[in-house]
C-alpha cells in the first residue's frame, strides 16, 4: 500500500503509454456472425458459440451487450463448482423443520435484482460433468438454486469445438436440440487491422415494426411449405458420430427456426445471416434445403411473369434465371393454352436478349415440345436465332439442321 501512497513518475508515464495503446478507432464493417447472435438473442433462444479459445468471443459479446443495452455478466463455468449454479446448501438451525435452502451466488442475485441482462456462460466444454449438469438446468429452466431468472435475462454460452477440447465433453442430442449453434471464427484481416488500431464496428440489425406481420407470414410459409413437401425432415435424430452434439431437425428446432426466420426477415438481415441461424438450428442438410426452398419462394411467380411478359423482371443470376424460366414452362405445361404458350415464348426471347442465351436452350426445347397442332409458331421465335446458334454449336450439328428452339418451327 505504501508504494502507491507517493505518486510515481514512472507509473504515470506507463499509464500514458497504456492510454495511447488503448486508444483505437473503429470502422463500420458488416459482421454476419455478430448479427446472427443478436437476432438469436433477440428471439430469446439460447445460443451456443463454438469457437477456439482466444478469438474474441467475449469482446464480441461486450459489443452485443452494449448495443442491446443489457448489462453483461460473464461466468466462467470451468472455475465454478456445481453448487454455484444449483445453489449452495446452507444448513440452518432446524433442517428437519425448515429444510435446507439452496443459496444462489451473488451474480445471480444481482441479475435477478436488475431484472435484465446478458448472461454469458464461458468455457462450457471444460467444466466437469457435474458443473455442466447444473448449468444445463440454468440454461433450460433458467433457475439458479431457488432463484428464477426473469424473462429479461438472455443466455449465451460458449464452448470449444470437440477437436480442440482437451476433455472432450459434448452435448447429448436432446440438449443440442435446444441450442442455436453458431460457429465463431476469426478473420485474420480484421485482427491485423485491429492490432493496427482500427477495430470493426458492426451495425446490428434493428427490427422494423412495419415488417412484423409480413415476417411471421413469410416464416410460416417457408417452414410449412418445406415440411409439407419433405415430411421426413420434421424429425431426424443425428445418426453418425460426426453429427452428434450439433444441430438436428425436430419439431422443437423447427419452431426455433420459424422464430429466427421471422426475426431475420423483420430485421432485413442478409441471406448469409439467415443461413447461419437456420443451419445452426436444424443442421446443415435440412437447413440448406430450407434455404433452397426460400430461394424458390423468392423466384418470381410464373403466373405473374406470364401475365405480363413485356414488363417481367427476371433474376440476374444465371442458375436462378434458368430456374425461373423452367418454372414458367412447367406452368404452361400444367395448364396449356395458346395465349400462355405465346407469352412464354415472349419471356424466353426477353431472357435471351437480356442475358446469356445458353440457359434459355433447355426451357425453349421443352416449350417447343408442348406445341399443339393447331397452334401457329409465334413470330417472336425468330428473335431466338442466337439461342438456336448457341444450341447448334453445342450440339456439333451442322448449320441448317433443326435443333433446340428450332424444333418448334
Amino acid at each position: 500500500m505504501t508504494i502507491f501512497a507517493t505518486p510515481s513518475a514512472e507509473l504515470d508515464i506507463a499509464a500514458d503509454l497504456l492510454t495511447l495503446l488503448r486508444t483505437t478507432d473503429t470502422e463500420p464493417r458488416p459482421n454476419p456472425q455478430l448479427e446472427a447472435v443478436t437476432l438469436a438473442v433477440a428471439a430469446d433462444l439460447p445460443v451456443l458459440l463454438w469457437g477456439e479459445p482466444g478469438i474474441g468471443k467475449t469482446a464480441a459479446l461486450h459489443q452485443l451487450a452494449e448495443s442491446l443495452d443489457l448489462p453483461l455478466t460473464t461466468v466462467i463455468a470451468s472455475v465454478h463448482e456445481p453448487s454455484d449454479f444449483s445453489g449452495l446448501p446452507i444448513v440452518g438451525d432446524d433442517p428437519a423443520e425448515q429444510g435446507v435452502p439452496l443459496a444462489p451466488p451473488d451474480w445471480a442475485v444481482r441479475l435477478v435484482r436488475a431484472g435484465r441482462g446478458l448472461l454469458f456462460l464461458d468455457e462450457l466444454s471444460t467444466a466437469t460433468p457435474a458443473v455442466q449438469a447444473a448449468l444445463l438446468r440454468l440454461v433450460l429452466e433458467r433457475r439458479i438454486g431457488s432463484l428464477q431468472l426473469p424473462p429479461g435475462v438472455r443466455i449465451v454460452a460458449a464452448a470449444n469445438p470437440r477437436a480442440s477440447a482437451a476433455d472432450g465433453w459434448e452435448l447429448s442430442a436432446p440438449l443440442a436440440n435446444r441450442f442455436v449453434h453458431l460457429q465463431w471464427t476469426h478473420d485474420p484481416e480484421v485482427v491485423v487491422r485491429g492490432l493496427g488500431g482500427t477495430w470493426p464496428r458492426a451495425t446490428l440489425p434493428r427490427l422494423d415494426p412495419e415488417l412484423l406481420p409480413g415476417a411471421v407470414d413469410f416464416a410460416r410459409r417457408a417452414v410449412t411449405g418445406l415440411l409439407t413437401a419433405r415430411p421426413t425432415l420434421v424429425h431426424r435424430l443425428p445418426g453418425s458420430e460426426t453429427r452428434k452434439g450439433g444441430a438436428w431437425p425436430s419439431p422443437r428446432s423447427w419452431d426455433m427456426t420459424l422464430s429466427l426466420i421471422a426475426f431475420a426477415t423483420a430485421a432485413g438481415a442478409t441471406r448469409d445471416v439467415l443461413a447461419q441461424l437456420v443451419r445452426g438450428t436444424v443442421g446443415d442438410g435440412p437447413g440448406l434445403e430450407l434455404l433452397a426452398w426460400i430461394d424458390r419462394m423468392d423466384l418470381p411467380d410464373p403466373e405473374v411473369l406470364l401475365a405480363d411478359p413485356a414488363g417481367a423482371e427476371l433474376p440476374e443470376r444465371g442458375d436462378r434465371r434458368q430456374a425461373a424460366l423452367e418454372g414458367v414452362v412447367a406452368a404452361v405445361n400444367a395448364r396449356p393454352d395458346r395465349a400462355r404458350w405465346d407469352a412464354a415464348w415472349e419471356l424466353l426471347v426477353r431472357a435471351a436478349e437480356t442475358g446469356p442465351p445458353d440457359l434459355v436452350v433447355v426451357p425453349a426445347t421443352t416449350l417447343a415440345a408442348l406445341r399443339r397442332e393447331e397452334w401457329e409458331v409465334p413470330v417472336a421465335i425468330e428473335r431466338l436465332a442466337g439461342v438456336v446458334d448457341v444450341s447448334r454449336r453445342a450440339d456439333r450439328v451442322p448449320a441448317g439442321a433443326g435443333a433446340g428452339a428450332g424444333a418448334g418451327r
Binding site: I90, A130, R271, Q322, R393
Partner: protein, 417 residues
C-alpha cells in the same frame, strides 16, 4: 481494355462460343448445370486462359476463347467450376495456414497443381474431351483418386516434368491467392459464401439422387460435401473420453469428504473433487479380416487415450476375440498390456469375458470390422465401437450381398478408416 496500342485490333470476347461450350458442358454433365449457370462471365485480357475467383466469377481471355475449340472449352468450363464446387480456395487457404506458406507463390502453384490433380483424374471422358497438356496424377507419377490435401504433400515443384508450359492458371478460385485481375469482394455479381454453399448443396443433391452416371469422384464429393469426414483418432478419443468422463468414472464432484473451502464457509456444505480412474476393457476382433496395421493403430490409440484420461496401465484390459492374435501380442507386450485369449470369433463372448472381470470395467471399447453378431441387450457400462470399414458398406440398395448386423444403438460407433 487499353490494348489499342497493339498492332492488330483487339479481339472481343466471343461470348456466344463460350456459352455454346457451357451448354455442351451442361449436356455432358447435367448434375453440374446449377453451378455452371451460376458462374458469371467476365472478359479479361490479363488472364492467360480461363480462371475463376472465390466469388464464382469466371474470367475468360478473348484470345484463348478464339483459338480453343468448343469441345475443349466445354472441358475447361467443367474444370473451372469443379474448383469452385470442391471449395479448392477455402481448402487451399486452410492448407496454406496449416503448412505455413501463406502467400508464397511457388507453394500456391503447388496448391493449384494439387487441386488440378484432384479434378482431372475423373472429370474428362464420357462426352468431354481431355484437353492437351493438362496436369494429371499419372503425369506426375502419383496415385490417382486422392484429395488435394494428399497431392500437395507429394508434389515437388523441382521434380515436375517439362512441357508444363501449357499450364492453366485457374485463378484465386483454385488456390486462394488473389490475382491482379480479380474483381475482389466488392466487385459486381459475386456469390456470397452462403450462396456458394446453396449451389454446392443443389449439385450434391443432384448427384445423390438416382444412381446416375456421375463418376465415383463426384459421388464421393457429394457424400462428404457437408459432412466432411473427421479424423477417426479424434472421434474415437472423444468417444472414449466422453464415456470415461461420465458419472461414476473419472473426475467428478463427490460429497464423500468435505471440500477445502468448507473451512472458510461454516454451515455450508461444499463438494470436493475426487478422482476415480476409469477402468477400460478393450475387446479386439482379431479375425483374419482385420489387418495387422489397422489393429495396431487402433489399439495404440486406445491405450494412449485411456492413459491420457488418467487410467493406469493395470486399469486397461484387453480381451482378444480370436486365437490368431498376431499383432496384438508384441504390441501389447510393448505397451505393457496383458492379452488374454478369448473364445471364438463371436463378439458376444468377448463382451461376456470383458464384463465378467472384477472390478467391472467402466467402459468397453470394441475394435471390430463389424462382421459379427452383437449382444441383444446393452451391457451395464458404456460401449464405444471402433469400426473398420469394409467394402460391403458401399453396396448399393438392391444389390444382393451379405449385409451384417450394424453396431447396436446403445454403442457409440466410430468409423476407423
Amino acid at each position: 481494355m487499353s490494348a489499342s496500342t497493339e498492332a492488330t485490333a483487339p479481339l472481343s470476347l466471343d461470348r456466344e462460343k463460350l456459352y455454346a461450350a457451357r451448354l455442351r458442358a451442361v449436356r455432358a454433365r447435367p448434375y453440374l448445370a446449377t453451378a455452371l449457370f451460376a458462374l458469371r462471365v467476365v472478359e479479361s485480357r490479363r488472364v492467360p486462359t480461363m480462371a475463376v475467383d472465390r466469388y464464382w466469377r469466371c474470367y475468360a481471355s478473348p484470345g484463348f476463347v478464339a483459338r480453343t475449340s468448343v469441345d475443349e472449352l466445354a472441358g475447361v468450363w467443367v474444370h473451372e467450376v469443379a474448383h469452385l464446387i470442391r471449395d479448392h480456395h477455402g481448402r487451399g487457404d486452410r492448407i496454406a495456414r496449416r503448412e505455413g506458406f501463406e502467400g508464397r507463390p511457388a507453394d500456391r502453384l503447388r496448391l493449384n497443381i494439387a487441386a488440378d490433380c484432384e479434378i482431372n483424374d475423373d472429370i474428362y471422358g464420357d462426352g468431354l474431351d481431355t484437353p492437351e497438356g493438362i496436369v494429371t496424377p499419372a503425369l506426375l507419377n502419383v496415385p490417382k483418386d486422392e484429395l488435394m490435401e494428399d497431392y500437395v504433400r507429394r508434389i515437388r515443384l523441382e521434380s515436375l516434368p517439362g512441357g508444363l508450359h501449357l499450364w492453366l492458371d485457374c485463378g484465386s478460385g483454385a488456390d486462394g491467392l488473389e490475382r491482379e485481375w480479380d474483381l475482389g469482394p466488392d466487385g459486381a455479381d459475386g456469390l456470397s459464401e452462403q450462396e456458394q454453399d446453396a449451389v454446392r448443396f443443389k449439385v450434391a443433391q443432384g448427384l445423390a439422387g438416382p444412381p446416375g452416371e456421375a463418376p465415383a469422384g463426384w459421388r464421393r464429393w457429394a457424400e462428404e460435401a457437408f459432412q466432411p469426414p473427421q479424423p477417426w483418432r479424434e472421434l474415437l478419443g472423444s468417444a472414449i473420453r466422453a464415456a470415461v468422463g461420465g458419472a461414476g468414472a473419472g473426475d467428478d464432484h463427490s460429497y464423500g469428504r468435505p471440500s477445502r473451502r468448507s473451512v472458510a464457509l461454516p454451515g455450508t456444505i461444499l463438494p470436493s473433487l475426487r478422482r476415480q480412474p476409469p477402468r477400460v476393457s478393450v475387446v479386439i476382433d482379431t479375425s483374419g479380416s482385420v489387418s495387422d496395421a489397422e489393429l495396431g493403430a487402433a489399439l495404440l490409440e486406445v491405450a494412449a487415450i485411456s492413459r491420457a484420461v488418467g487410467g493406469r496401465r493395470d486399469l486397461v484390459r484387453v480381451v482378444s476375440c480370436d486365437a490368431a492374435a498376431r499383432v496384438a501380442d508384441p504390441l501389447c507386450a510393448a505397451e505393457g498390456i496383458t492379452l488374454i485369449g478369448g473364445g471364438g470369433t463371436d463378439l458376444r463372448s468377448g463382451f461376456t469375458t470383458a464384463l465378467r472381470r472384477r472390478p467391472r470395467p467402466d467402459v468397453v471399447v470394441v475394435l471390430t470390422d463389424g462382421q459379427t453378431p452383437w449382444p441383444a441387450t446393452a451391457p451395464p457400462c458404456r460401449t464405444v465401437v471402433g469400426l473398420f470399414p469394409r467394402p460391403y458398406y458401399r453396396l448399393r440398395p438392391g444389390d444382393d450381398g451379405y449385409v451384417p448386423d450394424t453396431p447396436p444403438d446403445w454403442a457409440r460407433t466410430v468409423r476407423i478408416s
